[in-house]
Amino acid sequence: MNRSMTGQYVQKDSVLHKMDARAKLLCFILLLVVMLKAKTVFSYGLAAVTLVAVCALSKLSFSALTSTLSRMTTFLIVIFLMNALFFSTQEAIWKWGIFTLSREGIVQGLHVVAHVVLVLVLSNLLTCTTTPIELTTALEVLLKPLKVFRIPVEMIALVLSVALSFIPTLLQEADTIRKAQIARGARFESRNLIEKARSFLPLILPIFLCAFRRADELSLAMEARGYRGAAKRTKKAKIPLKKSDLLALGICSCICAVQFFL
């Protein structure tokens, strides 16, 4: 239960952990471009060196960084084979039915797998060093410019914050409901598709009813405390970015720019 609320966050005392979440999110997007732009040997080199450097800065263990990766070995193999075997080309090395193995296909497969691995490690870096609350707050600040298009950013921030705070209780409730229905003899293994679909109703319906009941009660509690719209509230305090955050942003932009020329 606890684990889910902190997500994959791992507590450590590193530069990356201390970095402002807004700057971190922007850097993440810049580096994401760096990873996805890798096509040649040099550009792969740059992407890999950058990634290794950031990993070292994070002080995270190797297992934490590759945690999602290890669960996905089969997925990676499937992706590789899909690309390698279905790449249509004239120069086939080996052919069997609809399967065509070619040099280009293998290269293509390797590209895709490499990109997935790079992006996964990078996103692990973000989620392991930033709590979900920090991330949502950062997202809210970064979405601010959207106000120009009359998008109610405060409302979105409120919705996200409430959603986060409801996850632990709903998770517990879902678990209880699942157990309760199993104790009442619910089964989920029917072969008939419609029967199988129906067999999930005892699970889904109560979970939704509980969730909607919670929303209903919370709306009363919020109104009772004087809520009258997300816009009419004390504004959030403005915290300026630190020098180190700006420096990090600068470095990431440079790497990103270099990648476009490689």
Binding site: L120, V162, A197, L203, F212, G229
Partner: protein
């Protein structure tokens, strides 16, 4: 139909987003339920039907995003097309509910959700073919991954969402679409 306050719709949207994270985890312990049945589609559709297109859109975008961030599922690689698909579900379901008025709330729900599910799949397929996996994504892949592989899931969504709408009306958690005279 008495409309729900914006606060209430916002909070329902919030719990639907939370359910996008919770449902796949709750289904996790039941063999092959999580992957085949795509439980995350249900809150996105329902949010659109109940709270309107804009909240539906928000739920479809934020649900998978939050889930990916908290649980690592769906994986980053699948995230963008999934967000597009669910966001279109929520948006179209909400829009359809504003136009379809057959005098029977369940008929409205079923029509709206079928249209939403179709449009969502078309848009997600197009997005995949044109942006996310340009060149690698074919018509055959679209049909197999969005329809054939999803048959159990589609059936469950078609059963669950109207049943949910009916139960929520009965429990007075959402206002009746067509109040009894």
């Amino acid at each position: 139909m008495t409309k729900m306050s914006i606060l209430k719709r916002a909070l329902i949207c919030a719990v639907c987003i939370a359910l996008c994270v919770v449902l796949p985890m709750a289904f996790h312990s039941i063999p092959d339920a999580g992957s085949i049945l795509s439980p995350m589609h249900i809150p996105a559709l329902l949010c659109g039907l109940v709270c309107g297109p804009w909240f539906g859109l928000l739920c479809g975008l934020a649900g998978p995003l939050l889930s990916s961030q908290l649980t690592g599922m769906p994986m980053m690689a699948y995230l963008p097309p999934m967000m597009v698909e669910l966001a279109v579900y929520g948006l179209v379901a909400g829009l359809m509910m504003q136009f379809v008025r057959t005098k029977k709330s369940l008929a409205d729900v079923v029509i709206s959700m079928i249209v939403a599910m179709l449009v969502g799949r078309i848009v997600a397929g197009a997005a995949k073919a044109l942006i996310f996996a340009a060149g690698e994504f074919t018509m055959a892949m679209w049909i197999s991954s969005y329809f054939v592989a999803m048959i159990p899931g589609i059936i469950m969504h078609l059963v669950a969402v109207p049943a949910l709408y009916y139960a929520l009306e009965k429990a007075h958690l959402i206002p009746r679409r067509y109040p009894k005279a």
